[in-house]
Amino acid sequence: MDVFLTQLPALQVVLPMLAAPIVMLLARMPRTAWAVTTLVCWLTLGISILLAQQVFAAGTISYHMGGWAPPVGIEYFVDSVNIIVLLIISLMGAISMPFARRSVEQEVAREKHALFYAAFLLANCGLLGITITGDAFNIFVFFEISALASYALIAMGRDRRAVMSSYQYLVMGTVGTTFLLIGIGFMYIMTGTLNLIDLAQRLPEVNDTRTIRAAFAFIAVGISLKLALFPLHLWLPNAYTYAPSMITVFLSATATKVAIYVLLRFIFSVFGYELSFDELSMEFVLMPLAMLGILIPSIVAVFQTNIKRMLAYSSVAQIGYMILGISFASLLGLTASVVHLFNHAITKAALFMALGCVIYRVGSVSLDRMAGIGKQMPWTMAAFVVAGLSLIGIPLTVGFVTKWHLILAALDGGLWPVAVFLMATSLLAAVYIGKVIEAAYLREPAEGTEPVREAPLSLLLPTWALTVLCVYFGIRTSLPLDMAGRAAETLLGGYL
């Protein structure tokens, strides 16, 4: 047992990685492929939880891959920051798999199921790898693993436009990771190391060189592409809109969050607070972009008639909230950002799952086809309403916890106008969510449309599991807030 426990960091990544080819071989047995994938996802969640226990009991875990001591060997590294992200990824994988069975059966051709689940495992593995590794080059490699798998997954959407949007994502994503690689390369040239902690120790000596400044810029822009920071978000709405429902759920909850984690790691831990904020004044870059990124996509979302696209734009806006919290560069602001990683993951996943239920029955989520759906699919739409309230930030939902802390952080930084801005923009969410609710409950179904039944239980249960989490953690705020608070402290303290 002890052997097993000490190998957990490796297993976290290796398990889904090794399961992927096995699942691919099950092409003729799509049900088995699904079952194996589900099992692996739940095991992955189990590993994350065990890791979390270890981190909170005994502090940071450092795992030396293959027994080679860092900085020569590759180090896996779990602390109070990335354990949160690991939990988010594996939890979302575990919850979305039960949802996947019926949803994927309907949306993806049967002969592709095994490939689909194999790609899903690889995406999962890539995201977990980015998060857990303590090696800069590893981050790039895992970014590519998760991205390539995601391109394939998105392209499997029913709509033919899925292929085009996947290609769009591929181009933008590749530019992003290439920038990241260039940045890492520059740092390697200057310091001769790829280990993140080692980098953090060696960088201060060479901080003033143009090479490191350039590395900083490449990395910041590259990651910003991956996390869809406005105005580098153009790949996101199409990708989310045309991907299979289950992939939209999973990616919206995890992919951008992981990229934000990497940004946090680089600007706080590797480059350090002094370089990022005191010298390079990142707040003056991040804050305006975050605010524009909240405002403009929120307005665009209001005018969407495809609800999936509406929520995709909303995701861009929510990323703006997380970046805004980072730009305060304070304990409160970081706490808000980190807790929002989790809050937004469960909120948006619940919303996309509810839409997945609607697609399963209706086949479309255009505003017109949603008319009168509230009566036909009462449980689905009730979940949508509750999760929607969380997105708006109504009290007793997780969205409110974020908003509260972001505003406190703004006031704490003496930024009254930003606090007012936050309030005003949260009303935009009320407008677009309100449009959906009004259509679903107050409009009559269009003439000639067949009434539909409630979604099957296997879709409803995961949807409601997430919805309940939105409310549970909106009331019992201490667990996520404590974890986020510790993460923020760790980040501000740097690696040393």
């Binding site: 109504i394 007012v420 009320a430």
Partner: protein, 492 residues
């Protein structure tokens, strides 16, 4: 100290909240059997009222019974504590719900409305929220229930689902959510950030923590953030809400929702700012003048409305400003007067709305110009209308006299002669717009060719409105007890 049933006050507070919550679920589950559902609704309302009354003896004895549910953030709890103002508001909302529940059975069935189960369930949630507002121990708890009240009443406003209802619903939601999130929440967070507490405390929490300049800004944010108090120019939601079925207009938009607004204003003024601190702020006078303007302007608009419910709605806008003005006068007299006005106006205005609904059910008339000679067909209804109107006007022998008395006393006491004049002027305007329907109904011949005899609304409509009309008469004699209860705000 316990009440009639011998239930501890702290437990009664929780039960008063729990009962409507359970009632909501039961109503939703029994939708298939309308009679059972409506029985449950009335039983829920009655039980809730009893539970609220159980709290009364301890509050009368000067106690502040309370209960803490759980901690939300460190130092910030979801908690309840009943003080005199909350006691009064809680009793009014839950007591009048009993009558409205009866009335709504008669009205909804008589008018043949759809989706009655959703309607009744949302109604119960709204009362649950109102009770939470009344009993909230801190501003944060109050805010949560305030938002819940907005959200739960939106389906009621948009109930009919036609374009007019949806448009009304949208205005309603946009203004109430917009002001509460855009102004009130930010004021709350700023208060928390600067004072480290949001508890309702005797004498306020601002003194010594918040400078007068910032305090002045916060006051404006609070007063406009409490959109339910309908200060101009954020009053449009109230007339917009009149598309709702009349029981909603009666209980929610004459009592629960709007009174939640002015109740919050009074709470914020006395327990967050504190009267002493408030009197030193530069914007207190500003809000007072805004209230005075709203008071007069809304009365003038009311005169021009031909639709009876619209006229009553603008009258409510005007009457709400009485209470805001009372709070801004920064005098104990006026604050108590404001608290009394919550009660008096509730009884008077709910009677008027009940009458408007009864007229609609019995004759499908909505406009005042159609009501000539109606008094002969509906003598009970129009008689009750007269009593309700007199109560809102503040004429003896109705309860409304006493609240206006104290408000005017407060204005005179603080030397605000102009405000005394505003109150007087508004009273004259009240007489014009509230008594014309009565005069036309009783003194003019019918203009629709109706020759039949007595044709009243269903019994379940007429009974509640008669009770509330008599209630506003009884309040004239019972005002002393109410004053004593409310005086506990400053002695408790």
């Amino acid at each position: 100290m316990t009440g009639l049933l011998g239930i501890e006050a702290a437990l009664a507070i929780q039960l008063a909240l729990l009962v409507p919550a359970i009632g909501t679920v039961l109503i939703a589950l029994t939708g298939r059997w309308p009679n059972l559902r409506d029985t449950i609704m009335v039983a829920t309302a009655a039980t809730m009222f009893l539970m609220v009354l159980e709290v009364l003896p301890e509050v009368l004895a000067g106690g502040r019974p309370g209960v803490v549910l759980f901690e939300f953030f460190p130092g910030l709890t979801i908690a309840f504590e009943v003080e005199p103002l909350g006691m009064v508001f809680g009793m009014i909302a839950s007591g009048l719900w009993v009558l409205t529940a009866l009335y709504s059975i008669g009205y909804m069935r008589g008018a043949g409305e759809q989706n009655q189960t959703r309607f009744n369930a949302c109604f119960a949630i709204a009362l649950f929220s109102a009770c939470g507002i009344a009993f909230a121990q801190n501003m944060f708890t109050l805010f949560i229930f305030y938002e819940l009240l907005t959200l739960s009443t939106y389906p009621l406003v948009a109930h009919k689902g036609n374009d007019a209802a949806k448009k009304g619903g949208r205005t309603y939601l946009a203004l109430l959510l917009g002001t509460s999130i855009g102004f009130q929440l930010i004021a709350i967070i700023a208060t928390w950030w600067m004072t480290g507490t949001l508890d309702f405390t005797d004498g306020g929490i601002m003194e010594g923590h918040v400078g007068h300049g910032v305090g002045a800004v916060l006051l404006v944010l609070y007063m406009y953030g409490i959109g339910k108090a309908a200060l101009m120019p954020f009053h449009r939601w109230l007339p917009a809400a009149m598309v709702a079925p009349t029981p909603v207009s009666a209980l929610l938009h004459a009592v629960a929702v709007v009174k939640a607004g002015v109740f919050t204003v009074l709470k914020v003024a006395t327990y967050i700012f504190g009267l002493d601190y408030l009197s030193e702020l530069s914007t207190t006078d500003l809000i007072m003048y805004v209230a005075a303007f709203t008071l007069v302007a809304a009365s003038i608009v009311a005169i021009q409305q031909d639709n009876l419910k619209a006229r009553l709605a603008y009258s409510t806008v005007s009457q709400l400003s009485y209470i805001v003005l009372g709070a801004m006068l920064v005098s104990q007299f006026a604050t108590i007067g404001g608290g009394m006005h919550i009660v008096m106006h509730a009884f008077g205005k709910i009677t008027l709305f009940f009458c408007a609904g009864a007229i609609y059910v019995a004759s499908k008339k909505t406009n005042i110009s159609q009501m000539d000679g109606l008094g002969r067909r509906m003598p009970f209804t129009m008689g009750a209308f007269l009593l309700g109107a007199l109560c809102v006007i503040g004429a003896p022998p109705m309860g409304g006299l006493w609240s206006k008395w104290h408000l005017i006393m407060g204005a005179a006491d603080t030397g605000q002669v102009l405000m005394v004049l505003v109150f007087m002027l508004s009273t004259l305007l009240n007489i014009v717009y509230l008594l014309t329907p009565v005069v036309r109904a009783f003194l003019l011949p019918p203009n629709d060719g109706y020759r039949g005899g007595l044709k009243e609304a269903p019994f379940l409509c007429v009974l509640p409105l008669s009770i509330t009309a008599l209630g506003s008469l009884v309040l004239f004699f019972a005002a002393g007890a109410l004053y004593d209860l409310l005086a506990g705000i400053f002695t408790g």
